[in-house]
Amino acid sequence: MDKGELVKTAALAKLKLDENEVETLAIEVSAMLENFSMMMEADVEGLEPTTQTLQQENRTRRDEGPIDSGDNLSNDLLERVPEKEGRFIVIPNVI
């Protein structure tokens, strides 16, 4: 994979890479892609793709709230927020 493609892919993944990383990752990614290309030899003619195994029944949940456990989960979650103002989570402005 060339560095241009790597940088483009990194941007999609919101990964900032420094120059050293671009160098080493370009080599490692290419090595893996070469390994992936082995799949081209496999005869997959007529095979359906498997995205999940075994599941046969529908799985749904009833439209009901949880039994009130008494603890205040949302406050617990807010405690873990890096930056907040009151109950709002705060981030730099979107431009």
Partner: protein
Amino acid sequence: MKYQSFVGLEIHIQLISETKVFCSCPNNFGDEPNTNICPVCLGYPGALPSLNEEAVFKALKVCKALNCHINEKAVFDRKNYFYPDMPKNYQITQFESPFGVDGYFNLELDDGSFKKIRIHDVHLEEDAGKMIHDGYQSRLDYNRAGTPLLEIVTEPDLVAGRDAELFVQQFRQMVRYLEVTDGNMEEGSLRCDANTSINLPGMGLGTKTEVKNLNSSRFVNKALTYEIKRHGKILDKGGEIIQETRLWDEKTSTSKSMRTKEDSHDYRYFPEPDLPPYRVTAEMMGKVESAMVELPNDRKKRYIKDQNLSVEQAAFITGERETADWFDSLLKLGAESNQSASWLSGDIQKVLNREEVTLEESPFTAERIKELFDLINTKKISNNIGKDLLQAMFKEDKDPSLLVKEKGLEQVSDTGAVEKVVDEVLAAHPAVVDAVRAGEDKQVGFLMGQLMKATGGKVNPQMAREIIMNKIKGSE
């Protein structure tokens, strides 16, 4: 018009449910910020989505109403892009195999004709949170994150802004009938993005632009009319349309470029491994079918054809499902359709408007109104007394017959009693009596007025008039 235009819509509706689509947090995003959140909808490590069956049911209702082909195996997919309002940085949606595909909607145009608008697909997904921006920072509230959202995508079968406006209005009416959403555009529970392209006739679709931020059906019309005109001007000058997303600015009544195709996302859709495919069973479709209601356009047709209502009356009554259902129950009780329609659109609506309540919230049950009609039709009370009674019914929340008794509003139809009052009135106004006798029949009105004043309007007016005329002219 030199060019042919094509308009397609993408409509999002927020589904009504107790809980969010993939977790059991309340589907109630007006609450204090970040109160209705849990590890699932906040995208915590280890949390997994769990599908809300009510959201599936409502999605299928819409698919059915839009005459869609229901995919036997509906699949959820991940749509990948980073944005702060989306906790997982992917949205669970449906891409390859949504609940419904290839449907249509019969759109009624202004001239009363119908046009079939094809529906590309109907898919279920999760909503994002809300971001509030100020000068230097953005505040995030995830109460809305993970609430159920249904997206309906039309084919570009609409041709103008007005078509799109009608579509949004009639679609909104339909989904409100289905009770799947409240359809409030200002509050965002019905959101609409529109795309349009133009081309010379016979040339097929042109390069399209998408317009966002259309929070009323009128804006949809304005924005599309503007876009179609803008495209035309560009093509007239030999220019090229740029495929892009534009933002409608209501203040300036113009659209502005938001992003071009070049910086559009690569969403990297793939099947959501955390949710098994949903197999739509015959049992589920049976449940959906039994929950279907007669849709507004069908109902309107029925009222015009079977109940002899005018187009305007039928449109008024079918405007809200509540009104139409109420109208139907009134008919079921044996009320006459024209009387029902004119009271409903007239005096009843006047009271509701003045008191700012809906029919459902008011004390006007179908039974009470039928009773009111019976009182009028059997001449126990006059039409005018009936109108006053309506107000009393609202204020006191009582049956009309009871009020008639309590207030002594029953029309006096006893000849002896009426004659007695007539005699008194004639005696008090000899000059008028003479005038009538001389042929000035118009003056009878004055005498009638005096009579009504004396009796509080309770006299049967026809009977009173006859007696007056007999007494004056017959005594010669």
